[in-house]
Amino acid sequence: MTDALHILSPGLCTTVQDLGRFHAYHMGVPVSGVLDDYAGRIANWLVGNPATSATLEMSMTGARMEILSPADIAITGAAMNPQINGRPCRQWTSLRVQPGDVINLGAADNGCRTSLAITGGVAVPQVLGSSSTYLGGLLGGFKGRMLAAGDILKRGAGPLLRTAKNLPWFPLYPEDIFLRAIAGPHDNYFHNQLERFFSTPFTVTAQCNRMGVRLAGPPIDRDAAAPESILSEPIIPGNVQIPAGGRPIILLKEQTIGGYTNIATVISIDIWRIGQAKPGDRVHFVQLSLEEAHKLYREWAGFLAAIKALLTA
């Protein structure tokens, strides 16, 4: 392990994340992990890491950091106008950096969250099998917290690239976000409102973090006979919870059990789109069946495999 990054200014919410922690759910420890795993995986592949390496996730405003040892880095996800030593640099490509270089990321002007990968992966102690930061539980990542000015991050060992890599295209993050979702698990509490839920645009409010995204819009009412809350049940990222008041909350990666009913569940391959949602964006839920969702899942897995093949060739 080598000292790799010296954080000069942390940005709004910068954390160490990998693909998440699945084996402690039953202890009340949520999955955590990078919210836009699509951008996170690509960042890792661009610097020659496996998809599972730990990266930095920055939200809304990026970090300013000094490079402490030679490395390749890649910046993907939301556009944050990155600069190296004051000169603009590209995202979605590998960048060779040298000790003393200063990387600066600004405010996101397309999307919300940016991933930064570095040769060998960001090295932090593994907690319950993962490097991901769980902010609510103060565990994992770098000392269980968001990064702060003065933090020194290490990286793992890994070879520098022989030739630079870049992705020949990159996703844009529209302000109208279409999220494919399957009704349920508690759609039987909302008989009269399912059609309305799937045909109404909602607006992302400022109450959005790694735990969930609260939406504004016309309230979704439960059936008259349905209870306001239920005995707590396991929940997963993508559940769309309808609390008292009827304003939906899309659950993200920092909860394990909940006592509200979920009208629908966003499919797993669209979670990254929510990770890029920022206050003011509009969310449209598009209903599909489990069979359709599984077909899309297989196609998406094939798409990711093709990108991996392209970048690791």
Binding site: M27, G28, A183, L231, S232, E233, P234, T265, H294, R298
Partner: protein, 229 residues
């Protein structure tokens, strides 16, 4: 009740084994979870239980929904022959009252009993762990004596110390980590209930029974010292 399966997105399914706060239903959930984790099945990435429901998180590239419901139904048939997972009674030392439990007098007054009766009643019961969640190691416990029920605080505290033991409505529980909270606090345990660096991060699991044991301030400080990470 016949087991009900519910689709929960493209990567998980919920199996519902009953309704209400019912120890027999919860035991079924727990034993199904033990069967599934005892013999890992390809494609099942996580198994989580709660009061009446079991969630399987799966990989659709490896296993389908129908295949999982069939597996669950066939495992359910073997439940009666399956070895009953061992459960334990876990002793949790608690220093009641004073600065450790600033609301204990309120709990006593609210219920028209003396403070020492609050301690006696709270530490006499066996509390069954129905589920763990909300926060790492937080237990949803059954078994609170109705004579100890109190409404939660109208304004939650900004910072409740780790280990605080509280009551809200018909529930009692322990805050495993420091956090904001609205429960009425009656005591505090010096044990670190959740310590991710330990080989067994949690001192208990769902299905176990918790018993609170009153301790002196000296004993609290002694155990607290031993528990330092």
């Amino acid at each position: 009740m016949e087991t009900e399966f519910r689709i929960c997105g493209d990567r998980s399914l919920l199996a519902v084994y009953g309704s209400g706060i019912d120890q027999a239903v919860n035991e079924k959930v727990r034993r199904m979870a033990a069967l599934l984790t005892g013999h890992p099945h390809p494609g099942i990435d996580a198994v989580v239980g709660s009061y009446c429901t079991l969630l399987l998180y799966y990989n659709p590239l490896q296993v389908g929904y129908q295949e999982l419901t069939t597996l669950l139904l066939s495992l359910e048939k073997t439940l009666s022959q399956a070895a009953i997972a061992e459960t334990r009674t876990v002793d949790i030392p608690v220093r009641y009252g004073g600065a450790f439990g600033p609301d204990i007098d309120f709990v006593a007054q609210h219920n028209g009993i003396r403070t020492d009766e609050v301690i006696a009643l709270h530490s006499a019961a066996d509390y069954y762990i129905y589920a763990i969640g909300f926060a790492p190691g937080f237990c949803y416990l059954g078994g609170l004596d109705p004579r100890l029920q109190v409404p939660r605080l109208t304004t939650p505290r900004q910072n409740v110390s780790a280990g605080s033991v509280g009551i809200a409505g018909s529930q009692t529980g322990v805050y495993p980590l420091a956090s904001p909270g609205g429960w009425r606090l009656i005591g505090r345990t010096p044990l670190r209930l959740f310590a991710p660096e330990r080989q067994q991060p949690l001192l208990y699991q769902a299905g176990d029974t918790i018993r609170f044991r009153p301790i002196s301030e000296d004993e609290f400080l002694h155990i607290h010292h031993l528990e330092k990470p």
